[in-house]
C-alpha cells in the first residue's frame, strides 16, 4: 500500500466530455466484428471463412504464435466478410448477426475459480476469448501465456482525456470483479490494484490477496503502463502484465457464466452532438455508436477507437474493439488560418505559456486533428519532461532511438517509457516530432535484436 503523487503530466482540456453516468441502450446491430489490429503483437490466423455460420463465443481466429489464444465471435450469425488491409493483414472479421446458439465455455462457482490453478485459469481465459484483454509491459503487447510475469497490475482508475469512468463501467459488477481477481491472483506472484486519491472504491471491497496503491496527479497517472514504473520496475527480464479493472470484470464474467458479456458500456465523446455513455453489443459498428450520440457535430471528422492520445483511427464502417470503452470523435482540422502564428490565441489550446488561453484555467477546447505546423528539429525547451512522470530523460531516449543505439536506449528506459507518455510528448512537441512512432521504432529494434 503506497500513495504515489505524480507531478508531471497533462490533462488534455478537450471539450465534449460526459458529465453524467446515465447509460443509454443502443439497438442490436446488424453486424459485429473482431478487429485484430487492436491486439498489438498478435497475428491472427482465421478459423472461419466467408459464409460460415458461427455461434456466439465460437472462435473466429487464433493467435499465430499461440494457437490456444482464441478470438471469439461476439454474436451468432454468418461470417459476412474478411476485411484485409496492407499486405493482406486481417483488419476485421465481420459477422452478419442472426439468431443462433451460444457456445458455453463452462460456468464455475467462486470456489471452483479459486481452485483452478495457473494452468486452469490460463486455459479458460484463452479458449473463452478473454485473454487478449491482458497486456504485457514492456512494449504494450497482448500478454503471452508462456511469459512469467513478476506481477499483474490492474488500474482501477482512469485519467485519459474523455475516457470512460470506471465507476460507470464497473457499476453492479462486484461479483464478476471478485471472480476475475480470484483468477488473476493465480497467474502471478503479486497482483496490484491502483485507485485514485479518493480511496478504494466500494466496488472493490471484499477482494483479498491484492496490494492496493493510490495514484494522483494529471494524466497519465491512471494509466497502468505508467503505474508499473512506480509500483514494480520492469526491465529486460522483468515482465509485468496489466489491464484495467473492467477487463478483470469481463474475465470474471467468462469464468462465472461461461461466456463473455454480450454488451459493453462505451462512452462516445468529443465532437458529437450528445456525448454520452451507451450500452452496446460488443464488436458493434462504430457508426451505430456515433449515431446514438447524436452524430458528429462537424462535416469532416475522425472516429477514434480509444482516447485521442493512443486510440486507433477507425474507418466510418469500422467496429468497436473488444475491451474498448471509449470512442472519441475528433473534427478534422486543416483549414488554413491567416497569420495563425501571430494570433493571441485566447481560443487555442497549448501546454506552453505562449498563448493567451493559458491565462484562463479550466477552459476546454474543441481540439481538431490539425497538426499546427510542419516538422522541425528538436528544440529542447523542456516540453517533454513536463508530461513524463516516469524517471526518464525523454529527449535523450528519443535521440538514442534515432541513433539506433540499443544499449543506450535500454539504459535510458526504452522499456519503461509508455505509449501514453510518448503520446503526450507527441502532443506537446513544438517541433511536431512524432514521439509515439519513434518509441514504436525503438521497440521494434529491441524485438528484432532479442529475437
Amino acid at each position: 500500500m503506497s500513495d504515489f503523487v505524480l507531478k508531471a503530466g497533462l490533462d488534455l482540456p478537450i471539450a465534449g466530455g460526459v458529465s453524467d453516468g446515465a447509460v443509454a441502450p443502443v439497438d442490436a446491430p446488424a453486424q459485429v466484428a473482431v478487429t485484430p489490429p487492436d491486439f498489438p503483437g498478435v497475428t491472427v490466423r482465421l478459423a472461419v471463412k466467408e459464409g460460415d455460420v458461427v455461434k456466439a463465443g465460437q472462435p473466429l481466429g487464433h493467435s499465430k504464435l499461440c494457437p490456444e489464444m482464441k478470438f471469439v465471435s461476439p454474436a451468432a450469425g454468418r461470417v459476412a466478410e474478411i476485411r484485409r488491409g496492407h499486405r493482406r493483414s486481417i483488419q476485421a472479421i465481420v459477422v452478419d448477426v442472426a439468431a443462433g446458439e451460444t457456445v458455453n465455455h463452462g460456468a464455475l462457482s467462486a470456489d471452483q475459480i479459486a481452485k483452478l490453478g495457473d494452468e486452469g485459469v490460463k486455459a479458460r481465459l484463452l479458449s473463452g476469448g478473454a485473454w487478449p484483454l491482458l497486456r504485457a509491459k514492456p512494449m504494450a503487447q497482448v500478454a503471452h501465456p508462456e511469459q512469467r510475469p513478476i506481477a499483474i497490475l490492474v488500474s482501477g482508475m482512469e485519467t485519459g482525456p474523455n475516457c470512460a469512468d470506471p465507476a460507470v463501467l464497473l457499476d453492479g459488477r462486484e461479483a464478476e470483479l471478485q471472480a476475475g481477481f480470484a483468477a488473476l491472483t493465480q497467474l502471478a506472484p503479486k497482483v496490484h490494484l491502483t485507485h485514485g486519491a479518493g480511496g478504494l472504491p466500494s466496488v472493490f471491497a471484499g477482494i483479498s490477496g491484492l496490494s492496493t496503491h493510490s495514484f494522483s496527479g494529471p494524466h497519465p497517472s491512471g494509466d497502468p503502463e505508467v503505474q508499473i514504473n512506480f509500483v514494480c520496475s520492469p526491465g529486460t527480464e522483468q515482465i509485468v502484465w496489466y489491464c484495467r479493472a473492467v477487463d478483470v470484470a469481463d474475465m470474471g464474467a467468462l469464468l462465472l457464466r461461461g461466456e463473455l458479456p454480450r454488451t459493453a458500456r462505451v462512452v462516445v465523446a468529443g465532437g458529437v452532438n450528445q456525448p454520452r455513455y451507451v450500452e452496446v453489443q460488443t464488436g458493434a459498428p462504430v457508426a451505430d455508436l456515433v449515431a446514438a450520440a447524436g452524430g458528429a457535430d462537424a462535416e469532416a471528422f475522425r472516429i477514434v477507437g480509444g482516447s485521442v492520445l493512443t486510440g486507433r483511427a477507425l474507418e466510418a464502417n469500422g467496429f468497436v474493439a473488444q475491451g474498448c470503452h471509449t470512442v472519441s470523435v475528433v473534427p478534422e482540422g486543416g483549414s488554413r488560418e491567416f497569420m495563425g502564428w501571430l494570433s493571441p490565441g485566447a481560443d487555442k489550446f497549448s501546454n506552453h505559456r505562449m498563448y493567451l488561453s493559458k491565462l484562463f484555467g479550466g477552459k476546454r477546447f474543441r481540439l481538431t486533428t490539425d497538426q499546427h505546423g510542419g516538422p522541425r528539429a528538436l528544440i529542447p525547451i523542456g516540453s517533454y519532461k513536463k508530461v513524463v512522470p516516469s524517471d526518464i530523460e525523454p529527449d535523450y531516449l528519443m535521440k538514442a532511438i534515432l541513433c539506433e543505439d540499443i544499449e543506450e536506449m535500454l539504459g535510458l528506459g526504452l522499456l519503461e517509457m509508455s505509449r501514453e507518455e510518448a503520446a503526450l510528448c507527441t502532443v506537446v512537441c513544438p517541433s511536431k516530432i512524432n514521439y509515439s512512432q519513434i518509441l514504436e521504432r525503438g521497440w521494434r529494434q529491441y524485438q528484432k535484436e532479442t529475437a
Binding site: L12, I14, I150, C232, S233, G235, Q238, V304, G306, V308, L309, T310, R312, A313, V330, E332, S335, E337, F338, M339, G340, W341, K348, S350, N351, H352, R353, M354, Y355, T368, T369, D370, Q371, G373, G374, P375, R376, A377, L378, I379, P380, I381, G382, S383, I392, E393, D395, Y396, G411, L412, G413, E416, L424, V427, C429, P430, S431, K432, S436, E440
Partner: protein
Amino acid sequence: MKFLRDQLDAVHDKVKPGGPWSKIPFAYTLYDMHDTILFTQGKTTPRDGGPHVRDTLDSKRLMFTVVIALIPCILWAIYNTGAQALAAEGVDVNLVSASIRGAFHFLPIMAVTFLAGGFWEVLFAHIRNEEVSEGFLVSGMLIPLILPPTMPLWQVAVGTSFGVVIGKEVFGGVGMNILNPALTTRAFLFFTYPGAISGDQLDGGRRVWNAVLAVPEFLRGLIPNGTTVVDGFSGATPLAIAADESARGLPGGGLDALNAFASGSGVDYSFSSMFWGTIPGSMGEVSAFAALLGAIILVVVGLASWRIMVAACIGLLATGWLLSNAASVGGNPMYHLPPHYHLVMGGFAFGAAFMATDPVTAASTNTGKWIYGLLIGALVVLVRSVNPAYPEGVMLAILFMNVFAPLIDHFVVQANIKRRKLRLAAASA
C-alpha cells in the same frame, strides 16, 4: 483573405514539382516559406496511430516569442545608439531625434544580417529538401544587437555567413548546432576584425566611438547633420577602463579607474547608468534593465531556463567575490571591482538572458543547467579579470560552455542510467 489564399494557391500550382516554374532554383522553397508565414500550414495528424490532436505551439510562434522578448533590447538599442551618436556630435538629444538617428545605424546592420543569413537558410533548406527553419529569426535579431554600431556592413555579412554556415548549417541546421550561431558570428568578427569591433580602426586608432562613420555612405545624406564628422568624443567601454594597466596603481583598482574616468570625461560609468544602459557599447547589450525585461518574458513564457540565468548570476557573483577578496593594491585592477558590477558591465546581462539560455546549445537536463550556468558565470569573471588581453569574457564563456554542455548532460544522463540499473537490481532481488 480568400483573394490572397487563391493567389498563393495559383503560385503553388506553378512551383509544385512538374509545374511550369518548378525548374526555377529555390522556387518551391521560397513559395513554401512565404505560404506558411502567411497561412497556418493546414497539415493534419497522421491517421495511423495516435495521438490525433496537437498543441497549437509551433516553431514559428516559439521563435517569434523570443523576438518579442528582445523588443526592449531592440528599442533601447535604437534609441541609445542614436542618443550616443548625437551626444558625441554635441547635438541636443530627444526621444525622436535619437530614435531616428539610431534607426539609421541599427536597421542597415539588421537588414544585412537578415539578407545574408536568410540566403544561407533558404539555400540549405533547398538542398536538404526541408521547410525553411524559423531559427534564423532569432539569430538574425541577436546578431545586430551584439555588434557595435560602427561595424562595417560587409563585415556584418561575412560574419553572419560564417555564423550561420559554420556555426549551424554544417551540423545540420537549427536544433543540431553545437554553438550559438549569433555568438559564433561575433567570435568570428572579434578575432578576424578586432579593430572594427572595438572601434580602433576609426579616426586614427583612437578608440573613437563614432557612429557617423558607420552609416553607409549612401544613407549619410539622409541623416540630419549626418555629414558632420565629430572627433571630440573619445571613449572606451567601462570594462576596458576598469581593466586598464593605468588602474593598477589605484588603491580601489578598476572601480577607482571608472570613477576617475567619469570625473575626467563627464561620461557616467556608474552602476546605475550601466544598469539602465545610458552608455555607449554594442547596440543591444548596454542596458542590463532591457535584458532583465527580456529575461522575465522568456521565463514567464517558459522559453528560457531560469535555472541557467540564476546559476550564471550566482557563479558570477561568487567568483567576483572570491577575486575581490584576493585583490591587493597594485595587483590586477579588475580584482577590485565589486562583484555586482560584473552583472551590469559588458554583455553579461544580455548574454545570460538570451545567449546562455539558447535551448539548443545549452545543457538540457535540469541538473546540467545548474552546472552549465554556474560555470558560465564563473568563466565570465575569470576571463574578464585574470586574462588582461580580453576585457570582456561573456562571449568566450558561453561559447566555451556550449562546447561542454553535451558533456555535462552526458554525466547527468549517465546518472539516470545508473539509477535505473539500481532500481532493477532492487526489484529483482
